[in-house]
Symmetry: C2
Subunit: 419 residues, 2 copies
DNA sequence: GACCCATTTGTTAACCGTCGGCAATACTCC
DNA sequence: GGAGTATTGCCGACGGTTAACAAATGGGTC
């Protein structure tokens, strides 16, 4: 058994359920926070880090020292002051790389990032419908990882960790894909398979959670406590963060916002229910709006939702009335569903992410805001910012890599002893 | 200005939003946990407390020592063991009392509890529709408090604190009723008014939050992390707890589950929207189901929902088919709305509370379970226990008093120096 | 240009608080 | 009195902060 396993095989058998907080957790949280500030404000002085985090300068100095010792940070210069110049810290771009792997129904995407989560390189391998065995998927991941690491040049960079997202219910502590509905996987110890083949600390989770972590570190979630990210794609779902940290639910399946009922006894949904949010605002649902409005629309591309949504986006730009009606109809449902989240959870921000949100963009968002204003209660509504994600690239693989960084930061040894 | 104010008037002006955790918080959380164990398992040995909390015996001993010094706990006897007998701890019933005040639209309820949150006495004063000025409400609270404390006998007991719930959006830190829709209150510094007149540390909050705190301490929330309590009354709302603690949302208005849309463009709701959950499962909504099924039903009591719901409950017991249909119809909506919560939040338990849940009881719950099973996703569904609240009495005033106990426990000085 | 001082930054040590482990003590039973 | 268990006190490890101190620079003075 390799020691690169990120999940101790036997754990979690504690007698009680309450997460007892230890002082160690405080240090780890501070490391996260300081790393976030350095990434966002780079180059940045210790003084400024202290001001932004609220920590004392002494604590900042020790934590920064740890991060320098771990090879993540670097003093990159100095800044004038009235007295001694401030040293400026930045992420050491040679300090190591992180891998973010997004396993979806039709593709496996492997992205390489530096320790500041700046995108370096990426490959995407298509997944045919027959290739749904875990070992086949693992094969694609391994080949993708080899490709990007190979291209990264010599000497091979130090890999700090890999984050892998798999759809469905994932037990992130055990590295187990508990249930992946599309492939009918049950309790696949995916993480072990991967660690064994990669020799890299691997962190398995679900794409919704990766997306919210990416927003927390780099997007609308920065400096906020309660954030929801809505993944609008073929399926739809929500990533949730409460009090500044990821919320997973009791059994790692929180966030199935797509399968909450919006229209009782409404449109059938592929989950078997009726009137689910996903049936109206998922890509197939949007295509259905178009088909119902104009069955012969030239924007319709049979068997290719992506092309249809693209055509729709072009139609909006061109002022096509049918396209506009489709957007309005979609927003009628999406807005009500967003208002539900606002009323129930009173978040600070709701972020629209994934490819449908990207393509339909501002026109959809404007309509949604108007609908939300009608449905949501006044006070929570004004407290919530509704925005599109500003993250570049695939925010799922970015979030997966971020989870790997969090894992790495959690395991840095504290160095009091110096020498 | 009195020093019994529980809310420092100037606070919260920190530059950053992240709640920086201190080791002090750990101690406070452990005090809560140990107090909960003592209340639930009383009389209980230190050993058992350690086993149930997962803390070391040493830590349990120090915290128990603090609580004894604060007058909350007492050694009440010994338990045989093979060697030295275990000392048994219990709450000191003479250690102090807590007040729980539930301010509703039509009444002010003041309950007195001992430090173990056992009910001692209570009074309810009716609130006429004209009596909606803050000072009038305060007057009722003060008179109620004087009554129960007067009856408690001499010498007057030590009051550890008072928790007061007010409907609407409440800023618990500042003790301000930010917005109470029924009375059109805006930014009433209710807490200051009360502290000044009572001379008792007062803790203001919202009834939904009180209800979930009560469940966390004494009901289905014990030893659970993620719990939802549904308040089914004239209005409906949800109290939320994530990771073992109360969730308030960004601006203290999380939990408006009653105003999430379940039937797009459905029944009008008094909030101005349409198709809200409350319009179907709030008491008036249930009465409307009955009216639609049988406009001449003898169970209908004009202008008295409570009587109608009571008649409905009797009808169910008697096997009245109309009553059963009304329950089924109500469950059709309630079940779907509960399933939404399960899919979105994946909680460990959902607790049905308040007077409608009490009266319609098991028959409603059975129907709801069946509907939820159809609507919710399989895996989160089996992970969620759906139950009626087992708390006796008014769980809102109980929760309010519990909030006061939490406040008291947070402010116990740590005593290393002894003598 | 040499020197000194003010000023600010960064580091170190001391302190307090938390928890856990271990040994000494307390207590009862056999 | 000895065995066995409970409780307590003490110590170490770790966290953060405060305060004192060392380091680095600029500016003024001779």
């Amino acid at each position: 058994m390799m020691d690169s396993l990120a999940w101790p095989a036997t754990e979690g058998a504690r007698g009680h359920s309450i997460a007892k907080g230890t002082s160690r957790d405080i240090r780890v949280a501070n490391r996260f926070e300081i790393m976030r500030v350095v990434i966002a404000r780079s180059p940045v002085s210790r003084q400024r880090i202290a001001a932004e985090t609220g920590l004392s300068i002494a604590t900042v100095a020790t934590v920064v020292g740890e991060l320098i010792a771990a090879g993540l940070l670097l003093e990159v210069g100095f800044e004038d002051s009235a007295g001694r110049p401030r040293a400026l810290m930045a992420v050491d771009h040679a300090g190591g790389v992180l891998l973010g792997v997004d396993v979806a129904e039709t593709y496996v995407r492997v992205d390489l990032f530096d320790a500041a989560l700046a995108f370096l390189d990426g490959v995407e391998e298509a997944l045919s419908p027959e290739e749904n065995r875990p070992d086949q998927v693992v094969g694609h991941i391994v080949s993708g990882v080899r490709t990007v690491l190979g291209r990264a040049g010599t000497p091979a960079p130090r890999v700090l960790g890999a984050g892998i997202t798999v759809p469905g219910q994932v037990d992130h502590r055990g590295g187990v894909s508990v249930f992946a509905p599309n492939w009918d996987w049950h309790d696949i110890a995916f993480g072990e398979l991967l660690s064994a083949r990669l020799g890299i600390p691997a962190h398995l989770d679900n794409p919704l959670r990766a997306a919210i972590v990416a927003e927390l570190w780099f997007g609308a979630g920065r400096r906020r406590e309660d954030v929801v990210v809505l993944n609008l794609g073929t399926g739809v779902g929500a990533g949730l963060a409460f009090r500044g940290t990821l919320y997973r639910g009791a059994t790692n399946s929180a966030g199935e916002w797509g399968h909450t009922t919006l229209v009782l006894d409404g449109r059938p949904c592929h989950c078997g229910g009726c009137g689910c949010v996903e049936a109206y605002v998922g890509a197939p649902g949007i295509v259905q709006h178009l088909r119902e409005l104009d069955p012969d629309s030239p924007m319709l591309h049979a068997n290719d939702q992506t092309a249809t949504i693209d055509a729709l986006a072009r139609g909006i730009d061109a002022g096509d009335p049918i396209a506009q009606k489709v957007v309005a109809e979609t927003a009628r449902y999406l807005g009500a569903a967003v208002a539900n989240l606002i009323n129930l959870l009173n978040p600070e921000a709701i972020v629209l992410s994934s490819w449908v949100a990207t393509r339909l963009g501002e026109p959809l968002l404007a309509e949604v805001r108007a609908v939300v204003a009608r449905h949501a209660l006044g006070r929570p509504f004004v407290a919530t910012e509704i925005a599109r994600s500003t993250l570049p690239g695939d925010s799922v693989s970015l979030g997966a890599a971020t989870l790997a960084l969090e894992g790495f930061l959690s395991e840095i040894a504290t160095n009091r002893a110096k020498g």
